[in-house]
């Protein structure tokens, strides 16, 4: 196949020019970006989750402020902005993460998209895609197995235990890279926010991993059931197992050193040292 270079360039030029304009219907990339990065903490017209409801957000603040906040939430909060401080307080201190890959153009597009969705009677982003059926004991048990990795996530996502622990796991507990999730259910104020969070984990470490391996809605329900149960039964965070782990490591290392000492117990003693000191049997015979 031969490519018509000038024609291809022309198409590319117009394609990029149309992407750059904000007022067009939102592109698939913008929607995908919203679903991947915003939906886990915000609704449009469905009430607050971890973060505030975004319906009519442009009426609450200027476009410039909103873009600045989306680009770097922490910077705006640290600047002493009173509105930002209030949002943070309402979110119980859950700081919005700086989204990887965000820039001014994309922030503008996202706001236009949110405005368009706000104008609708009911946005499809008003509610969750996760069922609101009652949680059962079977859900709790499945959630625990999913958390530990005994049951695999359908989408191939890694088990929670790799980075998180909760009270009551036994052994040396779960991983320590991420936060203890014993009180996650309480921190996120319940089922909806937690389920939304799990549908597209927005944390910087989890996002790249779970983007390619999303957790299914039934699995989310099981995890929510497990974490709800943990929050309600376990009083405090799991005690840190770092010391026991380190001691186990030292124990293993000492055992290995003893093995080396035993395996090489004749090291340099049978031949070399007597040889060097002139006490080898062969020498004495002469």
């Amino acid at each position: 196949m031969t490519l018509n270079a000038p024609k291809t360039l022309l198409i590319l030029f117009f394609a990029s020019a149309s992407l750059a304009r904000g007022q067009d219907p939102p592109s698939e990339e913008t929607i995908a970006f919203y679903e991947q990065n915003c939906m886990s903490c915000h609704t449009i017209g469905g009430g607050r989750l971890t973060g505030p409801d975004l319906k009519g957000v442009s009426e609450r603040q200027t476009r410039e402020w909103l873009v600045g906040f989306i680009l770097d939430p922490k910077k705006v909060i640290d600047s002493g902005d009173t509105y930002a401080a209030e949002i943070l307080r309402e979110s119980r201190g859950a700081l919005m993460t700086k989204v990887p890959g965000i820039d001014r153009t994309l922030a503008e597009k996202l706001l236009s998209f949110i405005d368009a969705e706000s104008a609708k009677e009911t946005s499809r982003y008003a509610g969750l895609q996760v069922s609101d059926r009652p949680l059962t004991d079977a859900d709790i048990a499945r959630g625990r197995r999913l958390f530990l990795g005994k049951d695999r996530f359908e989408g191939g996502a890694p088990a929670c235990v790799a980075c998180h622990t909760v009270n009551g796991l036994g052994g040396l507990g779960g991983g320590r890279l991420g936060p203890d999730l014993t009180s996650a259910y309480a921190r996120l104020e319940g089922r909806n926010a937690l389920a939304a969070w799990l549908s597209a984990p927005p944390s910087a470490v989890m996002q790249p991993v779970y983007r390619k391996h999303p957790v299914e809605s039934e699995e989310i329900l099981a995890l929510v059931a497990f974490l709800k149960n943990t929050a309600e039964s376990g009083s405090s965070d799991a005690p840190p197992a770092t010391l026991s782990f380190l001691l186990a490591g030292f124990g293993g290392a000492i055992a290995l050193l003893l093995v080396f000492d035993f395996l090489w117990r004749k090291r340099y003693r049978a031949v070399r040292r007597p040889l060097a000191s002139g006490r080898l049997a062969l020498d004495r015979q002469s």
């Binding site: 990887p100 790799a162 036994g170 991983g175 890279l177 790249p208 030292f250 090489w264």
Partner: protein
Amino acid sequence: MNDFVLLGVLPYIAVVVFLLVTIQRYRMKGFSYSSLSSQFLENQHHFWGSVPFHYGILVVLLGHVIGFLMPTAILSWNAEPVRLLILEVTGIAFAILTLVGLVNIVLRRMTNRLARRVTTWSDLAVYALLLVQVISGIAIAVFEGWGSSWFATSLTPWLWSLIKLSPDVSYVAPLPGIVKVHIVNAFLLIGFFPFTRLVHVLVVPNPYLWRKTQVVIWNWDRSRLRKTT
């Protein structure tokens, strides 16, 4: 410093330097490929340095390589909490063994007169890099566990993105500082590798593992020899 420079550019610089200088040194100064062992100068303290260090680092490195080449195998193994614990405790035990060996190696170098005399600046650089590497690795295992699992999910995709020449640092950029220290220092080690005694890793006489034993016997009277000289 910029995450992209450290995690998306430095690895390439390190690997290019490694390849070019390794080959150049082999072609120009092939006989300098040596561990420059000082075992003949002192062999008692040496045992408690070299042996634990080498067995430790071999097992720990093997773990990293398996995590890189077979991430799903590691995750399947870790799917049972008891197996995860076995793997992690084995890892930390061999890591501590490595550190014990390394500390002994450094102490011996500093305290033994003969060993100190044959120590070069490149040796000191190797010790500094290795100490940072091993200590940061242990700190990660202890404070940021369970690394065997999250290495497979966060580090492996990033490493493959490097190999595919489209570095995606989003996997590793948000990880804790100590993990980035471990990563960046690893690539510094790779970059410095061909300038140091570490090149002996490439010329390990593996056939010694399975060749027939050779016994060296002096069949002349050594005491008479000594008297006459």
